[in-house]
Amino acid sequence: MGLLSAYSLLYSPLAATSLFERLESLGIQKIAITDRDNLYGYPVYRELAQERGISLICGALLTESGEELYAFVQNQAGYELLCKLISNRNIDPHYSYLPLLEGGCEGLVLATTSPPLLKKISNAYGAITPDSLKAVTTAKALSRPLLAIDRAFMLAEDQRETHRVLRAIALHKDVGNLSKGEFQEKGGLLLEDKAWQQAFAPWPSAIANADTLVPYDPFSSSLIFPTYPVSDATEELRDRVYKGAEKRYGEINDAIEERIEYELKIISNKGFSPYFLVMHDIVLLSSRTCGRGSGAASIVSYSLGITNVDPIAHHLYFERFLSEARMDPPDIDVDFAWDERDGVFLQVYKRFGLDHCARVANHNSFHLRSALRETARCYGLSDQQISTTLKVLYSEGLKGVEDPIWQTIVSVATKLDNLPKEISMHCGGLVITPKPVTAYAPILRSADGYPQLSWEKEGTEQAGFVKIDLLGNRSLAVIRDTLKNLKEDGIFIDERTWNPSEDIATIQALSVGNSMGVFYIESPAMRQLQKKTGRGDFEHIVIHSSLIRPAANKYINEYVQRLKGKPWEPLHPRLSYILDETYGILCYQEDVSKTAVAMADFSQADADQLRKVIAKKAGGKKLNKYRDQFFAGCRKNQVEEETIEAIWQMMLSFDGYSFCKPHSASYAMVSFQSAYLRVHHPAYFMAAVLSNQGGYYRPQAYISEARRMGLTIEGPDINCSRITYHAHQNNLIIGLMAIGRLSRGAMKRIVETRKSLGSFSSLEEASHELALDREDLVALVEAGAFDSLAPNLRRSEQLRILLTTTRVRQPYGQADLFTDEKPYTRKSVAVTQKHKTSDDELHREYAALGFLRSYHPLILWSHLLQGVVRIKACDMKEHVHRFVTLIGYQITQKQVLTKGGESMSFVSFEDETALYETVLFPQLYKRLYPLVASQWPLLVFGEVQEDQGALIIEVQNLRKLGS
C-alpha cells in the first residue's frame, strides 16, 4: 500500500516497470501506488498490473503543509473527488485539500501519518509505515483504526543517492545544499514479505484494514465523448453525409452509396456518430482544412469536408481507420491554416465550455545525455567542466575521466535514464467531455493557461477519451492566401470543380521536380526523386511522399528501377495483390498490417498492433512476440525462411515515422493544389509562400526561384508594398515584412496612412504624414523602399530629407512647429524612372532584406567572380561524367549519417542560372564542413553524375571564392 514510483516526479527513482517486476517476483496480488499529488502514472500501472494479474488500487499521496495524506479510490465518486482535489492543487499550488475533505470524502479511504491531520479529518485512518509510527498514539486517543502503509519509493538502498539527486534537480540545488526535510535520508524501501510482516506484527488490525481496500478501476469501459444535441445523431449524420456526398460527387452511384452505408453502419454500431458531427462542426470553423492520418480513408469524412481526398477513387483502406474488430476510438487528425488554429481552439472551448475540454499531455523523460548533465550540476560542476568532461566520457569512457566524482555521476545518471521528468503539452491533441473533465481525470494548467490532461495520448485513450488532433499547417494558409490574392485580381477558382490532380501542366511540372514551395514535396530529396522517376501523377506522388522516410532509404533505388521497367517478382504470391501498386515494395503503414494478415494469418486487431509496435520503435518483448507470431504463421503457410526474413526486414523499415496511404493521399491533394497554383499563377503562389514563411528554404531561395520562373520582383516600396508579399499579374511585390528591422507598428501605419491619404508623391510627404521613428526610416531606406519617390537621389540623401522634414508628432525637423503649413506640396506626376543602386547600397540592402531586390546576391562578389573559369549550373547536363567547377551560393544542406556512423552531407547550391545538388562524402565533409557552415560563396569542384535522370555533383573540393 502507498507505493511511490518515478511518476512522483523528481522524487522517486523507481521506474514503473522495475516496480512491477519486483512486485511480481514477490508474489504480491494487490497494490496501491500513490504518487505525490498526481495520477500521471495510473494508465501505465494499470496496463502493467493487467499484464501481471495484479489488482491495482487507484490512489494518490496528497501533501498538505509538509504532512502526508493517503487517498485510496473505492468507487467512482471517490475517483471524481480525487480528480477534483488534484486538479485544484495543480491549478493553485497553495490549494488546501482539507476544506473539501472535511466536508466528506465518499468513495475515498483516507489515511495519514500526521497526528494533526488525523485530528482534522474525522474519518481518516491512522497510517503506520515501517518508518513512522507517530500516528499510533493519536489514533488510539481518537479511537481511529490503523492502516498499514509501505510508503516505499525505492527497491534498494543504492537508489538513495538517485533520490537525493532527483530532489536536488527539483529544487534547483546541489546535493550538498539539500536540507534535511528536502529528501528522505532513511527508509522508503520496499520490504520483503517477512520483513513487512515483522514491521507491522504488533498492529494486526492495520494489516487487516489494508486488506479491506477494494481495487476499483475508474477508467470508463465506454468512450467518453459528448452527445450531440439532436434527437438522433445517426440520422443527423446520415443526412449531412448524403448532402455532402452530393456536393462532392454530383451524383451518388451504387458504389458510393454502398461505401457510405458500410461506413455509417460501423460508425453507428460503435456509437461514433456524435464524434463525426462534432468534427464536422469544428472544420466548419476554419477557411480550409486537411484531414491527416487514417481518417482520410473515410467517405463519411470526405463527404463532411473533414478530409479532401476521395477514398473510392484512390482505393483507400477504411479498416485502417475503423473496423468492427478494433476496439480503439476513431482518430481523426485535422490540419488547419497555421494562423487560424489557435482561433479554432478558442471557438471549441467556447462551444463546449472550457470545463469540458482539455489538451493532451506529453510525458518528457530523462535521456542519458541530459541526465548526465543534470546530475553533474547537482554535484557542483559548472557547464564548462561538464561539457569538457562529457567529450572525454563519450570518446574514451570513464577511464579517460580523472575526477572520481564522475563515477558517482555516471552511476546516478544511468539510473535516471528514461525516468519521467516533467509534463508538457501535446502539439494538437484535445479531448471533449460530456461532464466537466475533472469528473474523468485530473487536469493541470498548460503553459498557455488552458486545461490539460495528466496523460499522454496512450493514457488518454486507455481512459476512454476520444482524442481529436487539431494541428497547424502553413500550406493551407498558402493556398488560402493565393486564392484570395487571385480573387482580388478578378481570378476566381471554383473549388467545387477544381481538380488539380488531373491537370496536365501540373503533372508535367511535378515530374521534373519543379516543386519549390509546393507542400510536402519541395525538399531536395523529394525533387530529386521526382526527377529520377519522371512521374508527377497523383498516384505516384502519394507513393513518393510515403517512401521518402529515413528507414526506407534502401528501398528507394529499387523502387525507381522497378518503376522504370526492371523486372520484379513479388516476395511471395500472396503479396502481389497488396503490393502491386507500389511495385512490390511495402510503402504504407497498412501494408504492414495487410502483409501480416496475408502471410501469417494475423487478425486485423493483431496486425494493427504489430504496425503500432514497429512504428514506435518499441522493440523488446512486444516486438519479439509479434516476430515469433509472424514467423510461425508464415511457416504454417509454407513460406520459405529466406522470404519470411526478407519480408520481416521490409516491415521493420516502418520504424520511426511512416504514413498510411490515406494520410499520404490527403497530403498529396494539398500538394497538388499548391503545385497547380505554382504552375498557373506563379507570382501569386510564390507571394503566399514567402508571406507564410516556414517553408523548407530561406526567403532568398524562393526569391531566386521566382526569378528563374520568370517573375518580376518589385519592392519593397512605400507605395506598393503591403505588410505581406502579394502579386499582381506576373509581378511579385515584396512585403514590408521582409524588412527585418522595420517595426510592426510602422508597417501598419504605412498601410493605414496610404489607405486614408492615397499614395505618397514625395519623400517630404511620406516623412511628414507617416511620422515614423528614425530607426524605421533607416530600415525602409536601406531596403530601397523610397527609391520610387526619388530615383535620382542616393539613398543617403533620401534619408537626410526624410529625417530633416518635420514629422507629425515628432519634435525634430526644420519646419516651424507652430504653423499648420505642410512641409511639402503634393505632386501629381507618377515617377517611373529607375533608381541606380550603388555597390554600397546593395550591401546594405542585402543586410536589410537577406536578398537583393533586382539581382542575385552573387553580384555582391562580382569583383571576385571575374576571371573564374566555371560552367553555369544550367549547363550541367552537358557535362555529365566530367569534372567541372561551379560557383556555389548555398541554399540548404542536410547532414546525414552513413551506416558506419560517419557524417556526410547533401548540399543544395545555386548560381545565377540554376539550383543544383551536391554530395560531400564523409572524408571530404570532415575536412570541408567549416566552408559549408559559412555563407560565403564557394568554388565547387566535382564530377557531374547522373542517377536515373537526376544530376548531382560529387564534390572533390570546395574553396572560398576569392581565396
Binding site: 554535484y379 557542483g380 560542476l381 559548472s382 561539457s387 530607426e775 543617403s796 534619408l799 529625417l803 557552415a933
Partner: protein
C-alpha cells in the same frame, strides 16, 4: 612649429584577455584561440586572439558559430586573476610617471602628464618609454596616444591598435578626427553606426560639420554630445580615485573542492570570528561586510551587506556573514574558497544610552570574555557550534580548526 601642450596619454592593450594569455604562454602567440566563459550553447567569444581575428572570429560572436567556422579553434577560459595582475602591473609602471592616473580595467590607462616635462622631458618621450616598459616587463604590446584630452587620446589609440604610438597636437584635434571612421567615436554603437552609414556619414568630420537642426533630426538630443565629441571637445577629468580604504580580510582555501553547505557555514563562521577579533582588538567596528566565493571553474560570485550603524560583535557578524555567503552562493558549482572583508571600519562606537538595555550589556560582556579567552589561548578555543560540523569536515578544514577548540558558544 607651435610646441605641443597635449598632456594626456592613453594606453590601450588591444584584446587584453587574449594578450595577457599570450604574455603568460608565448607558445600561444601564433595560435588561433578565443577567450570564452562557458562551453554552453549560448556562450559567446569574449576576445579572439589576433590570429583568430584574422580568420573572421569577432568578440560577441556565439562560440558555437566560431567553432563551426574554425573547428581547430582553441577555447580558453577567462583568467581573471592574471588579467587583474596585468592591470595592476601596468598601473605600477605608469605610476612612476605621473600621480594623476585613471586605471580603467582591461588594459586601459589614462595619465595626465601635466607638469612632468621638467622631470621626464616631452610627454611623447614618456609615452614611448611607458610603451617600451610595458612591452619589456609584461610582454604586452600596447597602442599609445598623446593628446590634449581623453577623448582624442582614446580615438588615437584606436587608430593605431593593436600596437603603435600617435601624438595629436593641441589645436589639431578636429583635423585629426575629421578623417577617422565614425565607428571609432565613443557612443557610436551598432544602431547609430547603421543610421550614419545609411545617411552616408562615414567619417567623424561629417558629424562635426552637421548643424544643430541636422544633428537633432539625425541623432536626436544625444546627438549634440556626439557632435561635440566629433569636434574633439572633451573636458572630462581623470578619475584618479584609487581606493585605499582599509579592510580586514580573511582568505580561506579549501583542501578539496567543497559542496556541502554545513562545511561552508563552518568555514565562514570561523573566518568571521577571526576577522572580528582582529577588528575589535584595534577597537574598530565595521559597517560593511563583503564576501567573494571562488568556484572550481575559475568564476567568482560575491555579495555585500551594509548597515547604517556598526557591527562589532561575533553574534551579529556571524549571522551577517552567513547571510552574505548564502546570497553569494547563486551557482551550483563546487567551491575552492572564499575571501571575507570587514570594511568601512570606524572606531568602536560608545553607546550613548544613559541606561543600557539589559541584553546589550550582557552581549558586550560575553564578547569581552570570549575575546579575552581567545587572546590568551588561541582563536579556536571558543567558537560557535555550527563552526564544527559533523562528518567529513575535518579533512576539509584543517587550516581553520584549532586543535584546542573545546568550548562551544
Amino acid at each position: 612649429m607651435q610646441p605641443s601642450e597635449a598632456s594626456i596619454i592613453h594606453i590601450n592593450v588591444t584584446d587584453f584577455a587574449a594578450a595577457v594569455t599570450i604574455a603568460k604562454n608565448q607558445s600561444l602567440s601564433d595560435s588561433v584561440f578565443v577567450i570564452a566563459l562557458e562551453a554552453s550553447n549560448r556562450s559567446v567569444v569574449i576576445t579572439p586572439s589576433h590570429r583568430a581575428w584574422e580568420e573572421g572570429i569577432r568578440s560577441g560572436m556565439p562560440l558555437r558559430m566560431a567553432q563551426r567556422l574554425l573547428p581547430s579553434l582553441q577555447v580558453l577560459p577567462l583568467d581573471s586573476k592574471s588579467i587583474a595582475k596585468a592591470d595592476q602591473a601596468i598601473a605600477t609602471i605608469v605610476q612612476t610617471y605621473s600621480p594623476q592616473i585613471q586605471c580603467d580595467r582591461n588594459g586601459h590607462v589614462y595619465l595626465d602628464m601635466h607638469g612632468t616635462t621638467r622631470l621626464f622631458g616631452p610627454v611623447v618621450d614618456s609615452a614611448v618609454r611607458i610603451r617600451k616598459e610595458i612591452a619589456e616587463q609584461l610582454n604586452l604590446e600596447a597602442s599609445v596616444a598623446v593628446a590634449s584630452n581623453k577623448l582624442v587620446a582614446k580615438i588615437g589609440t584606436r587608430t593605431t591598435r593593436p600596437s603603435g604610438l600617435i601624438q595629436v597636437r593641441e589645436g589639431e584635434e578636429a583635423a585629426f578626427l575629421a578623417q577617422q571612421d565614425v565607428d571609432l567615436l565613443s557612443g557610436v554603437g551598432v544602431a547609430t553606426s547603421r543610421l550614419l552609414a545609411v545617411a552616408g556619414i562615414t567619417q567623424i568630420g561629417q558629424i562635426a560639420s552637421l548643424d544643430d537642426q541636422q544633428v537633432l533630426a539625425f541623432l536626436g538630443k544625444r546627438g549634440l554630445a556626439l557632435r561635440d565629441a566629433a569636434r574633439g571637445l572633451d573636458k572630462s577629468p581623470l578619475h584618479t580615485g584609487l581606493s585605499s580604504k582599509r579592510v580586514i580580510q580573511r582568505k580561506v582555501s579549501f583542501a578539496t573542492p567543497l559542496l556541502e553547505q554545513e562545511l561552508l557555514q563552518a568555514a565562514v563562521v570561523t573566518a568571521t570570528e577571526d576577522a572580528a577579533l582582529s577588528m575589535r582588538t584595534e577597537s574598530m567596528g565595521c559597517s560593511k561586510l563583503y564576501i567573494q566565493l571562488s568556484y572550481t571553474d575559475g568564476k567568482v560570485s560575491e555579495a555585500t551587506c551594509r548597515t547604517k550603524d556598526q557591527w562589532a560583535f561575533d553574534q551579529e557578524l556571524v549571522q551577517v556573514a552567513w547571510r552574505a555567503a548564502q546570497q553569494a552562493r547563486n551557482r551550483r558549482v563546487r567551491l575552492l574558497g572564499f575571501v571575507l572583508h570587514l570594511a568601512q571600519l570606524s572606531p568602536l562606537m560608545k553607546s550613548l544610552d544613559l541606561i543600557f538595555p539589559e541584553g546589550a550589556q550582557n552581549s558586550e560582556k560575553l564578547q569581552q570574555a570570549v575575546d579575552t579567552m581567545r587572546k590568551k589561548f588561541g582563536v579556536g578555543i571558543l567558537t560557535h557550534a555550527n563552526a564544527l560540523p559533523l562528518g567529513p569536515s575535518e579533512r576539509l578544514l584543517p587550516a581553520l580548526q584549532s586543535p584546542g577548540s573545546n568550548f562551544l558558544i
